[in-house]
């Protein structure tokens, strides 16, 4: 009887081992998170009021960057939390320079997750927070560049202390992103539209983009000796009440996913 029990036990263990060995392995791939200031930052542009702007550095500090697989898809216009059937987060806080690499650079790699489950990541969230170290310490956004118009030149450094949280739907662009297959690499992008701040001379003046933009003229008016270095507290004094309020209102709209929209909470 004892021999029979031992024999049954051994056979059971062997059979379980065979079954477990046949179980499908988890399917994963590499998910990259990238930040993109677009050609506006990499190559510069002309503001709605005719200033030619070039950027030396555009530092953004990002944290709690998370990608989601949602069904039904998340609607950023409705706001609210992102309800997902799976999510992957990038650890840590990252300060990146959107102007890095020159005019033809790829979107900046913020970080990557090597064992992300496969699927379609069709939503993303992140926070822009004050940097604790590095060139933009104390600010969530630091824009460093030059602007020129009619022989005038202004060197500027605009610093933003406010913090923002973005919850975004699916990336909208030339191709879809976030479709991750086993053993492959896919990416998601956090896009920053700086034409929202300064406007764009290539867009009609009555376009919603230009109507809401501050332009660069107010900043030029606040410069002294061809130079403007200021944070939001300084700009509140230097700009007119309406221009400063326009800046406060437009900063949360920086975050996009390609041309796709995000819901923003500011702090």
């Amino acid at each position: 009887m004892r021999r029979a029990s031992v024999l049954v036990g051994v056979i059971t263990v062997l059979a379980l081992g065979m079954v477990l060995g046949c179980s499908p392995a988890a399917k994963t791939g590499m998910l990259e998170f990238r930040a993109n200031g677009e050609d506006f930052v990499r190559q510069g542009f002309v503001s709605k009021d005719g200033w030619t702007i070039a950027f030396d550095h555009v530092y953004v500090t990002l944290t709690e960057v998370t990608a989601y697989q949602t069904s039904p898809p998340y609607d950023p216009l409705s706001g609210g939390n992102i309800e997902s059937k799976g999510k992957i987060s990038l650890s840590g806080t990252h300060t990146v320079d959107l102007a890095e690499g020159g005019g033809d650079a790829d979107p900046i790699l913020v970080g990557e997750v090597g064992n992300a489950p496969v699927g379609q990541y069709n939503a993303i969230s992140w926070k822009m927070v004050k940097a604790k170290d590095g060139p933009s310490t104390g600010y969530s956004l630091l824009v460093d560049g030059t602007a020129a118009k009619d022989g005038q030149k202004v060197d500027f450094e605009i610093k933003v202390e406010s913090e923002y949280g973005y919850a975004c739907g699916e990336y909208v662009g030339d191709e879809r992103k976030g479709i991750l297959k086993a053993g492959e690499t896919s990416d998601l992008e956090m896009t920053f539209h700086f034409d929202h701040i300064f406007g764009d001379a290539d867009t009609p003046p009555d376009d919603e983009l230009n109507v809401g933009a501050v332009g660069f003229e107010p900043f030029a008016g606040a410069a002294s000796g061809g130079r403007l270095v200021s944070d939001m507290i300084g700009l509140e004094s230097a700009l007119s009440e309406s221009d400063f309020q326009a800046l406060v209102d437009i900063l949360p709209t920086l975050g996009h996913v390609g041309e796709g929209h995000c819901h923003c909470d500011s702090h």
Binding site: V8, I11, T12, A15, L16, P24, S71, R176, E208, E259
Partner: protein
């Protein structure tokens, strides 16, 4: 019995003979075609005339199924494949503005189906295999005793 069988066969043959169609009869067929019309506009209400449209079928988010352009009113119409129920994704873009809309068509469960065996199925199959080995072993042990 033989007579009843002949009558039964005759009845079956009679019922199988095609009837002569009436020249004045009317036959009506119908089919339902689902057509989707989208209308894209800016936040101001202005239509996105000439916007580029890309339609994706459920289960294949990478490959455009249909492309087109919105008319002057920002409208675009298409007939989805009725054999592919699920969430159809439609992307609209124009001059730096864009959005994507997700349209549920047909059976919602098909849009989120998965291939392969579920965890429960794997566990049950595994249990059957294990019991098969155990049962066989017990059988031979009983015969021996």
């Amino acid at each position: 019995m033989h007579r009843k069988l002949i009558l039964l066969v005759a009845l079956v043959i009679a019922l199988s003979l095609p009837m002569v169609a009436s020249a004045h009869g009317v036959k009506i067929d119908y089919k339902m075609d689902l057509a989707i019309e989208i209308r894209a506009s800016y936040d101001t209400g202005s239509p996105m005339a000439g916007a580029q449209v890309v339609v994706y079928v459920p289960g294949d988010p990478s490959t455009p199924w249909l492309t087109g352009v919105c008319d002057e009113e920002g409208r675009f119409s298409f007939e989805p494949d009725a054999s592919r129920p699920g969430t159809w994704d439609v992307q609209v873009r124009l001059a730096g503005h864009g959005a994507m809309i997700h349209i549920p068509i047909g059976d919602q469960l098909a849009a989120t189906g998965t291939t392969g065996f579920s965890t429960l199925q794997i566990v049950l199959m595994g249990a059957c295999v294990v019991w098969g080995f155990v049962g066989t072993a017990l059988f031979f042990l009983r015969r021996r005793s």
